[in-house]
Each structure stands twice: as C-alpha cells, then as structure tokens.
Symmetry: C2
Subunit: 499 residues, 2 copies
C-alpha cells in the first residue's frame, strides 16, 4: 500500500512538474516574451501538453489507480492519501476521455491565439482575433463531445474549473441574483451620484506600484516565495508552493486599477501560499477550484480592500503619497468614490453591484456559440447589444467590448461563471470569518490582517484541493453555494453608502 | 527517405522543445525566481532532463538513425538533411552512453547548487558551496567514466562543449600561448601605467543601461526577437530563433562592466539570431560550439568594442551621458584607460592580455580535482596560490577567488578552455573579416556595424551547428585553431598603446 502510494506520488510529481513548467512558460509569455517568440513557444507548450497528457493517461497510471481503489476504505477520507487517490482518479477519468492530439492542438492553437488576441486588443480590431477564436470554440466543442452524453454541452467545460458543478446549478443561482442585482443597480441609479472626478487625475505609476507592494506585504504575501511583475491582464500563477507570483497593471490615469489588481491577485496568492507544504508537487497542492480561488481574491479585494475599515488605515498613507491629488479629499469621500456604482464596459474595473452582470453576459454568449445558435462573427454586435440591455452602456470599440478579456484566447471557456460564484462564496465565508473574529473590523482598521489571513489559512487554504469545491463550501459555511449572503452584503453596503 | 527525415525532424523538434523550456527555466532562475522557488524548480529541471534524455536515447531514435546512415551517401554533405543526421547521430551516440538517472540527478543537483553558490557568493564563503561542488565533481567523474576508455578524463567533458576537440590539443595550444602571454604581461608591467582613475567614479545605472541598449541596437541585435534583463552573472540564452535573450549586470561604480557585458552578450546573440530560420527546432539551430560562440562575443567585445575606431564613434555619446565624469577626458585617454593591462582577480573584468591566464588556472584546477590529485577543499587555497604565481595578485576573499564564476555550480566543467579558444578563433576570423571588408575600420568609426554583421552572418552565423567547430574554423580561415593571429593581435595592439 505505502509502496503504491509512493509510486503514485512519483508519477503525479512528474506530471505536476510539467504543469508547473507550463505555468512558467505562460507567465513568461504574458510578462516578458518578445513578439517573435510566440511561434516556437507554441511548439514548446504543445510538446509539454502532449507529454503531460500522455503521462497522466498512461496505462501504468490506470493500473495503479485501479489497484488503489480497494484500499480507499482503509484510509481516513480526510487524509492526504485518500484525497490524492480520489482527485487523481477523477482527473484520470476526465483526461482519458480526451485524445492526446486534441490536447496538443489545443495547447498550440491557444498559445498562438493569445498572441493574436494581444494584437487585436491593441488594434481594437476583432477581425484579427476572429479566426483564432473560431478555432478555439471548435476545439472546445470537440472536447465537450468527448464527454457525451452530457446534460448540457457546457457541463464538461465547467467541470474542468469547477469539479462537480452543473450548468443547470449555475443558471439556477444566476436566475436568483439577476433580478435582485438589476433592481439594486436601478435603485442606486436613481440616487444622487457620487463624485469621483479626483480619481481621474494622473497618479505617478511608481508610487502606485510601491503602495500596492506595501499593501500586499501587510496582507502577508510572502516575497521570499513570490514576486510581482506587470502584465496586460493581471493574473496569479504558481510554479510551486515556494514560488507563487502575482502580476498587476499600472495605469497612471487610474489610481484604483493597479491597486485593486494587486490586492485581488495577492488574495489568490495568499491562498496558494497558505496550502500545506506537504501537498507540494501533487494535484492537491493548488486551490480547490476557480470559484473557491475567486472567493479569496474577491474577499480581499472587496470585503477587505473596499471597506471603510481598510481605508481608515490605508488612506492616510495614500494621501501622503499623493498630497496634490488627495490632500483635500476626506477619507469618507474617497471611500464613497471607490465604491461608486456605475454601469461601465470593462469587467475588471466594474464595481461590486454591476460585476455579476458582466459574467452573465459572457455565460450566455459562450453557451450560444457552443450550441451554434450564434457564430463567433456575431459576438461583437451581440456583446454591444447585451451591454446596452443589461447595463445601459455600450462599448466604444472591440477593445472595450468583446476583446477586453484574455480568457477566450487562452481557450478558457466555462470559466467566467466562477467569478460570480466566487463573489457569492466570498460573502458566505466573510460571514463566517466575522463570526469567528468579532474584532475583525477594528483589526483591519489598524492594518492588522494577520488574524483574518490565519483564519483563512487554517480553515480553507491549508486544505489545497483535497476536497471538492462544494464540499469545501459546506464544511466551511454549513451550506452549499448560496447567493443570499452576497445579496445581503451588497444591499447593506450600498444602501448605507447611497442613502 | 523524406518520410524518415520528417520523422527525425519531428522527434528532434520535441527534444528541442524540452531543451528550450529548460533554457526558459534557467533564465528565470537567474533573473527573477524568488529565493524559495529553488527546490521545486530543481524537481522540474530534473523531470525535464530525464524526459529529454529518454526521448533522445529511445530505441525508436536509434532505429531511425540506423535506417538513415545508409542514405547519407545520397545526400550533399553540406545539406541541412545530411548535417542533421550527422549531428543527431553524434549526440545519440554520446547520450546513450549515459544512464537517465545520472542525467536527472545531475540536473537536480546543479539546480540546487546554483542557488547555494549564489548564497556562498554573497557571503564570500566557500564552505556553503563546498559540499555541492564535491557532489558535482563526483557526478562529472561518473559521467566521464561512461566514456571509458578515454585518452584523458577531461576529454568526455570537453567534448560536450567542443565536439571533436581533445584535452591534448588544448594543452598544446595553451603551452604555445602561456610563455608569450606571460612575457607580454611582464613587458607591459614595466612600462609607465595608464591612468584610469576617472573610470572609478559613480556612473548612473540607468544611463549605463540606455547606452548599452543603444550599442546593442546599432550592432543589429533584434529586439523583436529578444530582450535584456539583469543577472548576477551575464549570459545569453535561446528559447528559439525568435527569442534570443541577453542579460547584463550594471554596477554604478564600474562603467565598463555593464557596457562590455552587453556588447559581449549581444555578440553571442547576433550569432544565434543570425542562424538560418529553417534550422529552427533542430539541434542545428544553435551555435557550432562554445568556442565558436565565444569567438563571436569576444570579437564584438574586444576587436570591435575595445577598438579606437569604435570609441571614435561612441565616445562623444558617452561623454554626453556623463559630462561631469568624462567631459574633461579625451577620447584617446579613454581608449587607453579601457585597455589598460593590469593583472586582477576577476576573470570577466580582465583585460585582453591577462584574460587567458585566468582560463589556464581553471583548466589546471579542474583537471587536478577530476584526477583526484587535489580535493575540492583544496581549491580556495590553490586558487589563491596560482593567482599569485600567474598574475601576481591574490584574491581578498572567496568571492574574488574560487567563487567568482557561476559555471561550476551549473555543473559546467570542461567549458572554461572554450573562452580562451574563442579569443584565438576571434582573432583568426577578424583577420579574414578585415581582408574581406577593407573599409571595416572606418565603418566601425561611423557606428556602421552592418557590413561586419552581415559578413559574419553569411560566412558563419547562418550555418548554425551544421559543421563541427574545427571544420568550421577551417572553412572560414583556411586553417585549424591557431594562436598566432591572437598573439599578433595582442602584441600589436598593446605595444601601440604602451609605447
């Protein structure tokens, strides 16, 4: 038994190495790779993807897993070994459905597509990206068909990011929140608007960078196990539990963009840095799912980073960095300004009240293309129309519309819903954290984030991917994914600000 | 035949991908990796090394190569196909001698050793590095034994970097140059010394960086296919013919260190960027050997970058960047200062007249440890003694002595001689270039490097690794590696400066 487990750990260790190396390649591509590096990089990613897939789906793995199934009942279901066998078996069953050639082609196509998306983004011209996106949707359909019969073509895609969750579940949750978020947006839209013109001055980039570094450090981000770089689209990536990197983007014309990116990504990174080190080089040594991950980034970004308590600590420092721009602005006015609700075109810049509407738009379009009810060519116009319908705003060009997010170019379809689910899970966890740490508000007000971070680490982070996301939510909050705490949080927060 | 060649290209393409990815990992480790990333990085490198080795030495590769040997006579020996079969066969024969476990262990040990070397370097304390270096020498001996019987234990190590060259050849060449370089150093030491105190002021780092970027650009380094970053020990690395990166180190207290590093590395990079693009993703798509590579970096660094003509173009710009430091210094005095001959402890800062002595010291120590005539523990003291004997200077501490170079920590033993050979080949090529481009001096004086770069590209760079290094030297210069042109170059240059 122990010998077999050791054998399994060796196998998954090598597979994990290949996955980590692909993360390095992706990080490099998004931060530093020169323009003409894309073609050979695509070949490298294709080769690694193929090798990773071959190793994971090799008969030796299947036989090993078979021989371990009977032993599961001898193990504690909460033990690392039990969870390892369970998770590797799940992944093995998933991966053996997909031909290696499809995996390799997908890797190659998306590596090139990212590059073409970047070009299209800068040119604000969807045409450049369109053939690549068509190919990506074709390959994702082909992937989904490997899992036929399915309840919904979106299910196999969603399952890759959110194991166990069904499209129908997501739609049911979204159906609950849609009318109430719309109503809130409508209600707040009728209130007198908050001034935030002072945010739209020029804010020196280096000072933004330094301020973000300081906040991430206070949050407990461990710089000996990470670093921050600049990327067009901020992200967090893990090369190992000793190397969890964040990225941000600094826009001198937008003070909040870089700051909240850094807090958001540091929230992701705290999760990964908080995973028990003995899960290193196994598939358990990562977040449980994308929604759980997003719950951590959004909790830090919004529940902490957009709270009055946070700014009662942070604002004097920000004022000191920007005396000209903020010297005459009170903390209360700053707090209200960064929480102003205003329908806008860019998801990552969206306020909390409108954010989920961006997600619903993407989900509907993704499903419609997959089901061939619309074509990729229709996307720019439909994006435009839906933005107008949901938020009453229209993108000026493709960069503000269909091209704004990197995800599709990476082949990530089925991922966006996890952002909205993350918001909801964040609120559920936030309620529990507040109950467990009665002084939480005043601690945040002193810039003391350690109790919150440690509570999250002990109750969530340390487990890595040992438990399925819905099981984890239940362990932590006593219920499944529930939109009520989030809706309560939103209504309470914004009514307090707006009335 | 064509089908078999295509099959070979596919196989070597995948192997090349793995090698390129290892280059990315190494670049990242030397530029940006956080301290605690080393352990998992070592596992990743180990896994990739093992896979690369397994793929290269797989029976399928052997059978394919066997089936292609008979076809060689049908091919033009200068064709890409002929050279590909020849080079892959050579590498296959070399690699199949070495067990995969040894390859993987070597990769893991050296990844960790690099990290420990860096610690030891900063602490100037050889003890930190000693156990790792002992392990590395053990593993290199074990590697050499795979090739027994050999003429010399150093032969298999040298062969990895300089295919076809023997230790006895190197020693014969070194025996020729040793007395004449010693005599030159002695002769110049008796002349009045050149003032270079003005070089030891503080030179703003950003301006140094910008100046280096400008020079590399004029040299023809293609930034769409590369970038420059900072590293403790400057190096050039190739992730593909579309992504050839350089690194430099900027020391505000030393104007020349960063500048000549940049020129040196850009010289390496021009070679890689000049390789015919159709050799991409094959073992031909790289330099022919380390000595040939070094001939290119040293040609640009010394024959061009330390020439009077170069500075007649570049010096006014440098003066403009540093008016306080250089405003009162004439071009002639600057030229003499950067060419001052002065025995010193650091190889990479050494002038042309003393440089090769540093190499001979390393070669002798490497061989003595391999032959167990001395131990790793003896190295610091012997380094000290030999420096005194060869150059009349002694290192202040281990950082200035045995720890100064990164190479051993990467497991690179058998490599240093290629630096000295590169100097000699550079002088041989320089003679040919001057004959082919009679206006070369005046073109350099105008900052026009295109003719030289194009001549090198057409006559050398484009071939990549198609021809063995000694064959390539013969094709280009009509003779084997010959120290005479280098010695003539040195004597002429320095007698002109010193008398």
């Amino acid at each position: 038994m122990n010998k077999k487990i050791a054998e399994l750990k060796k196998l998954v260790g090598e597979i994990h190495d290949l996955q980590s190396v692909m993360a390095v390649l992706d990080w490099d591509q998004q931060t530093y790779m020169p323009p003409e590096g894309a073609e050979e990089r695509a070949a490298q990613v294709e080769t690694l993807s193929r090798l990773e897939h071959e190793k994971f789906t090799a008969p030796a793995m299947g036989e090993l897993l078979d021989s371990l199934q009977g032993k599961l009942k001898e193990l504690d279901p909460e033990s690392d070994e039990y969870c390892l066998i369970k998770v590797v078996t799940r992944e093995y069953r998933r991966k053996t459905r997909v031909p290696a050639d499809l995996v390799a082609e997908f890797a190659r196509v998306t590596t090139i597509a990212q590059h073409e998306w970047e070009k299209a983004y800068h040119a604000a011209d969807f045409k450049i990206f369109k053939p690549h996106l068509e190919k990506i949707f074709d390959l994702r359909r082909e992937y989904a068909e490997c899992f036929a019969p399915y309840d919904h073509i979106y299910d196999p895609l969603l399952d890759e990011f959110e194991p166990g969750l069904k499209t129908a579940d997501v739609m049911a949750i979204f159906d609950k929140i849609r009318p109430r978020q719309k109503a809130l947006i409508h209600e707040l839209g009728a209130r007198p608007q908050i001034d935030r013109s002072f945010l739209q001055q020029t804010y020196d980039g280096q000072k933004q960078w330094d301020f973000g570094i300081n906040v991430a450090t206070r949050m407990g981000y461990d710089w000996n196990r990470g670093r921050q770089d600049k990327a067009l689209h901020p992200f967090t990536t893990t090369f190992g539990l000793g190397d969890v990197r964040i990225t941000t983007r600094i826009l001198p014309e937008s003070l909040t963009s870089g700051l909240f990116s850094t807090i958001h990504e540091a929230g992701h990174a705290l999760y990964e840095q908080g995973i028990a080190r003995n899960l290193s080089r196994t598939p358990l040594g990562t977040g449980a799912s994308l929604a759980i991950h997003e719950s951590q980034s959004r909790l830090w970004e919004n529940m902490v980073g957009r709270s009055r308590e946070f700014w009662s600590w942070a604002y004097p420092q920000l004022q000191k960095a920007y005396p000209e721009q903020l010297g005459a602005i009170s903390m209360e006015n700053f707090y209200r300004a960064i929480n102003r609700v205003e329908p806008s075109c860019i998801r990552v810049e969206a306020d909390e009240a409108t954010y989920n509407m961006h997600i619903m738009l993407r989900l509907e379009l993704e499903i419609a293309v997959l089901e061939r009810r619309i074509t990729v060519a229709d996307l720019p116009q439909l994006w435009h129309d839906k933005m107008e319908e949901y938020l009453g705003v229209v993108p000026m060009n493709d960069r503000e519309g269909v091209l704004q997010d990197v995800h599709w170019s990476c082949g990530i379809i089925g991922y966006f819903p996890t952002y909205a689910l993350g918001n909801m899970i964040a609120a559920q966890i936030w309620e529990k954290a507040k109950a467990a740490l009665p002084d939480l508000g005043s601690m945040i007000g002193k810039g003391d984030f350690q109790p919150l971070r440690e509570w999250l680490r002990e109750n969530l982070h340390c487990h890595g991917a040992k438990f399925e996301p819905q099981e984890l939510v239940r362990r932590l909050t006593g219920s499944g994914i529930d939109p009520e705490p989030y809706l309560n949080y939103l209504y309470n927060k914004y009514r307090e600000i707006y009335y």
